[in-house]
Every structure is written in C-alpha cells, then in structure tokens.
Symmetry: C2
Subunit: 341 residues, 2 copies
DNA sequence: AGACCGGTTGTTAACGTTCACAGTCGTCCC
DNA sequence: GGGACGACTGTGAACGTTAACAACCGGTCT
C-alpha cells in the first residue's frame, strides 16, 4: 500500500488501454488524422477526458524535430517601441500556434546577438525574430551560422534574411514636410544614436525633404532617445534665435525638448514648432500635445511572424522585405512660424 | 554519391565514436560528472569541438523531466510597469540558467490566466511567474490545478503561492504624508481601476495617512491608468476650488492631470501640488517635473525569480512573501499650499 | 591471499511521442 | 469469385539523451 500515492501524469499508453485501442490510434486522434472511425475517436476522446491526459510536447518535439517555439531577440524591452513590437510578435506567434521564448539584450555589443542566437538555437527554436535596430546588431545577422529561419525587425540591410520595418525615411519626410508646409524656413533635427538604423532613416528623410524644398539642412543635434538627451538638445536650441521648427527623432526626447523650451521661456508652438516620432501613449498629453509620426509597432510584430511562419512552411528560400508605412498625427505642438508671412 | 550532402547535426554517439569512448562518457563530460579521467575528458572535449556538437536539450528534457524553461504570464507588457518587471524577470531567469517563455494577456478575464497557465504547463515549464495585478487574476491563482511551482508578482492574497510585491500601502502613505507635511489641509486622490490590487493598496495607504493625521478623506476619482483618464479627473479637480493637493495613482495619469490643470490655468505647484507613482523615465521631464514614488520593478523581477528557483530546488513546501519598499522621489510638482500659513 | 573499495568506463533500458510499415476488414469491379 | 483498393487499426522502431547497473582496474585491508 501507499505505492500508488505518487501518481505520474497519464501518457498515451494509459489512454490507449482505457479506450481499448493502441497508442498509435490515440496519436491519430490527437493529430486529427482522417482515418479514424468516429466511434473510436469518441472513445479515445472520452478516455483522454477521464484521465485528464495532456500530450507531452517535449517527447513530441524530440521525434518531430520541431519545437513549435519561436525565439525573440530584442533590445531593452523597457522602451515603448521594442515592448510594443515584442507584444505584437508574441500575440501573433501564439495565435499561429507557437510558443515564444524571449531574450532581452542589455548592451549593444555585436557578440550579444550572436550569443542570444546560439542560446535559442540550443533550446531548439524553429525560428527567430530579431529586433535589431542597431547597425551592429544587423551586421551580426549577416552571417549567422545556424540554419535557423530568421526575420529581422528594423534590421538587416543585408539581403540574407527577411526584414520587416517601418519606413523611417518616409516618417522623417512626413515630419519635415509638415513643418515646411507651415511656412518654416528650415527644420532643425534632434537625432537618435548614430548607429541606430531608425535614427539614420529619420535623418535621411528629414534631409531629403529639406533638399527637395531647396533648403539648407542645419547640423543635427545627436541624442540617445532619452528625455534627458532631448532636454540637453532643447537647451542648445533655445539659445539659438533662428530656430522656429524642430523635428525630434522620438517622443521621449521631444518631451525633453519641450521641457527645456518651457524652462527657457520659449513658447511652443508660438515661437518654435516641434514634431516627435513614435506616438507613445503619453504624447497626446504633453504640454502642448505633441504632433508626431506614429509607428504601428503592432503591425510590425504581426507581419514579422507572418513572414517567419511562411518561411518555416515554404522552406528558407523566399526572403521577403516588408515595409510598414508611418502615419502623421497632428496635434498642438506645431504652427506657422512667428513672423510668418 | 550525394548521399552525404544532407548532413544532420552530430549527436552524442558521433562524438563518442570520434573520441573512442562510449556515449555515456560523453554525457558525463557534458554534465561535469567528477569521475572522468582528465585525459579522457580532454579527448571528448576535443571531439565535441571538432564536430561542432551541441547537446540536444529536448531529448535531455524528455528524460530528466525538466525543461529548464520558466513561464511568465503578464498583462499588457506595453505598460512601463509590467514591461520593466518582465525585463527583470527575464534577465534574472537567464542568468540562473533558465529559458523564459512569455504569455502576454490582452484582456483581464479570469479564464485568461487559467488558459495561459495550461498553455505553459503543456509546454513543460518548470515553474511560472504570474504578474497578476488584478484581483481577478490573483483569484485564478488560488486553486491552480497543476503542481507547477508558481510565484505571483503583485498578486495573490491567498497563501497558496509565494508572492513578491512592492509595498503599495507604504507608497500611498509616502505620497500623502509628503503633501500633508507641506501643510496641505487634505489630499485628493486619483485612483487606478478598482480591481487592481496595486490601486487598492495605494488608496489604503493614502487613506491611512489622512486618518492618522486626523483629516477627512475626500471621495477618490477613479481612473484606468491611462493619461486620458487622468486628464478627465484633472478637469474635474480643476473645477473645485478647494483642491490644493492631489496624489495620482500613477505617473501617466498624473501627466493627464497636469495637462488638464495647464489647460484650465491652474498652476502646479503654485496652486495645486501633484504627486505621481512609478517614476517612469518621462516623469522627470514633465512640466513641472513630477514628484513621485518609485517602484523598483527590476528588483521585483529579480526577487520573483530567486523565490521561484528556491522553490524549484527545495521542493514546493516553502511559500514566501517578499515585499520591496518603494522610494520617494522629490521633484518640482509639489509645494506649500497657496494660502499656506 | 582473498575480500573489498573507489575510480573509471561501458551496456542496457528507459522517457513519450510519431513514423513506417504491416495487417485486417469490407466493397467494388470485371 | 478473386484481385485490387480504401478505410481503419496495430506493431515495432526510431528520436537523443540520462539513469541504473554491471564490469574492470589497481590498491588496501584483514
């Protein structure tokens, strides 16, 4: 007696015995194999229910060589952008029937991405989405040793992996053209860190819009995405008297810019107009509410999973490149220039 | 010919043959078993290196019945709090040698938590951290069917699972006492959604501080954490002439309150003082910079993993309850009341 | 000298699933 | 009426690892 106390969870064989069939038939029922008599199927289902059987996915993964797990590598998921993207990825992956295993990188060293990939490969993921916004991270993707299907988000320039991204250049244009259309002579720019592809794209869009309008592009001020760096850039800008319009590469820095302007007595949008980027949930409540460029992170996440799943099914041969358009969001931080014609 | 083109990854047996030992010896080397002659070990290691062998963790999990994967269930990881907590969890788990599998819940239905837990159980996770800030979610944890070790973050009141949380009541007290100490007659409150335990704790702390000072607690205004709901509460508050101090249950709502006050011409902190909660990265750059209560999400995440790992190793018998203290952060949104004596 | 012991190694059997193949029926067709 | 075929089911062998046990070696103890 007492030997039956520690009851191990039921396995397929237990169900088979209970239903009076072979374990293989149980497997067939579980996998929706067509050739099972409906009466048999019912008996098996009933046995499963009675025993509270749940299939062991580890054993399954061992023989099928597919774990139904997708890996996600991302930078600092504390930031709104990456967090939202990862959120979208996770939702999409789950509804596509995949588990999601996450690695958030702290630092930006190129080896980090490599290690993360190795790590996920060990775990046996079927595919990987890398949210690789830095140039260095993107480079690490260029020659990945594993045969694991990979999709880069905001990432690879190299044609080796599929890429899903928001059209940053278009976003930069949108912001700049809006300011120009209001009558501003030129538009200043507070950029993101130089090795971020997103930052680079926004700079390019800004510059292109200015050139197209035949304006001189001032020297951009470099930030690091943080409100603090925006604040510092804002202090510099506040000192210059000829600044009437600023395109800030993200909303957090824009907040810092706004703060600096407020402190220096520069009125927005009365004296200077400001446009941000991202449309974080807070930006509608800044003082003043921020005109900005919205990125549909959720769509990016969803698309990246779609592309990855397609790749898993059709073989690794079809690389894709998918671009999500940004959207212009008009609020109250922009107006005609002070001395406006 | 051509039959050797599709090369499957090497397995233990391949390494064994290469090194001239049995596969079991390879296993021993891999698992740091003490009784292996160092010369043998070297030979095995060399073979591993030469063949580029990587151990198959799925097969390993099948036989050991441990996946070295931890599950995380969380709500809307787009919010700063959950995102930071999950980030801390992930970092800690990884450095403890565990993989992390994530499920982000969209809605708050109580069945959602249950489903997520089932889902993770299927995957074979060794343990689970549930970031369950709602009362309903916490209840779902009360009677979880799986024998899976579980740790709740900001969650369970029930003594069935270990809990790690920030001391919300203390936070509420801190905020309120600060305002009282500045000389405010009483302190208004904009609360979070009523079924959130965090919201409840902050209300309790606020109320306790007022009572202790012998003040009447006004009716709290209910928000939903969003800047928008803070904005609406702010509009209401702006209309009342006797309001001189407001404790807002999170920084995002505080932003909304600030915005509403600005629009209505109510000066902060000149006429009304405002205190927030969380200390999100933006709040130092609000106008004015927000006095707030900081939660150390990172520590919460780390502790929850520590507790969980301890439980994994010592057996499920030792439930723990760990409380992280909040910290007061003084900035520029609070001052003495206008007519201050 | 024989028993015993610790260090080192190999052999065999799990773990729980799916895959490949081989049956067993009954039906249809020529 | 016999062969072919389709629907359904069962049997055995993988998958790649660790656990349990046996075996061998040299040395020490009695």
């Amino acid at each position: 007696m007492g030997s039956r106390l520690e009851r191990r969870p039921p396995v397929m064989a237990d169900v088979a015995k209970e239903a009076g069939v072979s374990h293989q038939t149980v497997s067939r029922v579980l996998n929706d194999h067509p050739n099972v008599r409906s009466e048999t199927r019912a008996r098996v289902l009933q046995a499963i229910d009675k025993l509270g059987y749940r299939r062991n996915l580890v054993a399954r993964a061992l023989v099928t060589k597919r774990s139904r797990t997708l890996g996600v590598v991302s930078f600092d998921t504390t930031l709104y952008g990456p967090a939202s993207t990862v959120y979208g990825i996770e939702q999409a992956a789950r509804s596509a029937g995949y588990f999601v295993s996450i690695v958030s990188l702290k630092s930006i060293d190129p080896g980090g991405v490599r290690d993360a990939l190795d790590y996920l490969a060990d775990q046996g993921v079927d595919g990987v989405v890398v949210v690789a916004p830095q140039r260095s991270a993107a480079r690490a993707l260029a020659d990945l040793p594993h045969g694991i299907p990979t999709v880069a988000v905001e990432g690879g320039e190299a044609g080796k992996v599929s890429v899903v991204s928001v059209d940053q250049v278009a976003g930069g244009r949108l912001a700049t053209e809006h300011l120009l259309s209001l009558g501003h002579e030129t538009v200043w720019h507070v950029s993101g860190p130089s090795d971020w592809l997103e930052a680079e794209g926004r700079v390019a869009g800004w510059r292109a819009a200015l050139e197209q309008a035949g304006r001189q592009a001032p020297q951009p001020l470099a930030g690091d995405w943080s409100p603090r760096s925006g604040y510092e850039a804002g202090r510099s800008l506040a000192r210059m008297t000829d600044v009437t319009a600023v395109f800030v590469a993200n909303d957090q820095m824009a907040l810092g810019v706004l703060r600096a302007f407020t402190e220096q007595g520069v009125r927005v949008p009365g004296q200077v107009s400001v446009v941000g980027f991202d449309d974080i949930p807070e930006s509608a409540y800044f003082s003043p509410p921020l005109t900005t460029i919205r990125q549909d992170f959720d769509a990016v996440g969803r698309h990246s999973i779609e592309v990855l799943v397609r790749q898993l099914e059709n073989g690794p041969e079809d690389r894709e490149r998918l671009v999500v358009p940004p959207a212009f969001v008009l609020r109250a931080s922009t107006a005609r220039p002070p001395g406006g014609r």
